[in-house]
């Protein structure tokens, strides 16, 4: 699946997007954040406080409990500051 990062999450991870294959057992958005955080220092920094990181699956806001099965695109970003 495609993972996108925005704003300071993107800066901390050091890239705007990547293709990943989550291992078995990573079934929710929260699981995915935990797994990503273990991929290296930059990921650990981006997800050091997963409760402030927001997520969207296929361009719709979701909570950490949301299942990721079937997702094509998952995005992680800080709370929004538009308008």
């Amino acid at each position: 699946m495609k993972i996108l990062y925005f704003a300071w999450v993107r800066e901390r991870v050091g890239k705007p997007e990547e293709e990943i294959e989550a291992p078995a057992g990573v079934s929710t958005v929260g699981d995915l954040m935990t797994w990503l955080a273990g991929r290296g220092e930059e990921y650990a920094y981006a997800f050091e406080n997963p409760r402030v990181v927001r997520a969207a699956i296929d361009r719709t806001h979701v909570k950490a409990e949301a299942p990721i099965a079937g997702a094509r695109e998952i995005a992680f970003f800080p709370p929004m500051t538009g308008g």
């Binding site: 704003a7 361009r59 806001h61 995005a75 800080p78």
Partner: protein, 159 residues
């Protein structure tokens, strides 16, 4: 409904004219324009840079326009949100709502702005003397959006 994301500036009068042209049923048009301020908490800001999530930003705004349409009697809505670098005094966002009477147009414009602030995937970075800094989300903006929940259906609200 018109929803546009663009780097370039917009013309408020032209957008109002486009929404009302040839129509005799519209009795009220409310416009809200958000501008870039030159300082925040007493500290000067050289510019804002707005990052967005292409695809989701349009979809999320469209969802909220549909929610506004379900809630109030609207005869037209235009939302334009800029992205990229924006200097103090420049426009950032435009919401135009049209209705037969003012109450619905006022309420829908405020509703749309409150949701744009907290739910539309945009992020502001400020250029300050010490470097670029991401703007932190405000609790007051969350509270402003929360007060619209739960959404009554239009038929119920009208009674």
């Amino acid at each position: 409904m018109t929803v546009r994301l663009q780097r370039e500036d917009f013309d408020v009068n032209a957008e109002v004219a486009a929404l009302t042209r040839g129509r005799a049923d519209i009795g009220a048009v409310v416009t809200f324009t958000g501008l870039c301020r030159g300082s925040e908490a007493g500290e000067p800001i050289a510019a804002l840079t707005l990052e967005h999530y292409p695809g989701m930003a349009e979809a999320e705004i469209a969802r909220h326009v549909e929610a506004a349409n379900a809630r109030w009697h609207l005869l037209g809505v235009t939302v334009i949100h800029r992205y990229g670098r924006i200097e103090p005094g420049e426009n950032i966002v435009l919401v135009v709502t049209a209705s037969s009477h003012r109450q619905d147009a006022f309420a829908a414009a405020e509703f749309l702005m409150d949701y744009l602030k907290t739910r539309a995937p945009f992020w502001k970075s400020e250029e300050r003397a010490g470097g670029a800094q991401w703007v932190e989300a405000r609790q007051s903006d969350d509270a402003a959006a929360d007060r619209w929940e739960p959404a009554p259906r239009r038929s119920e609200a009208a009674q």
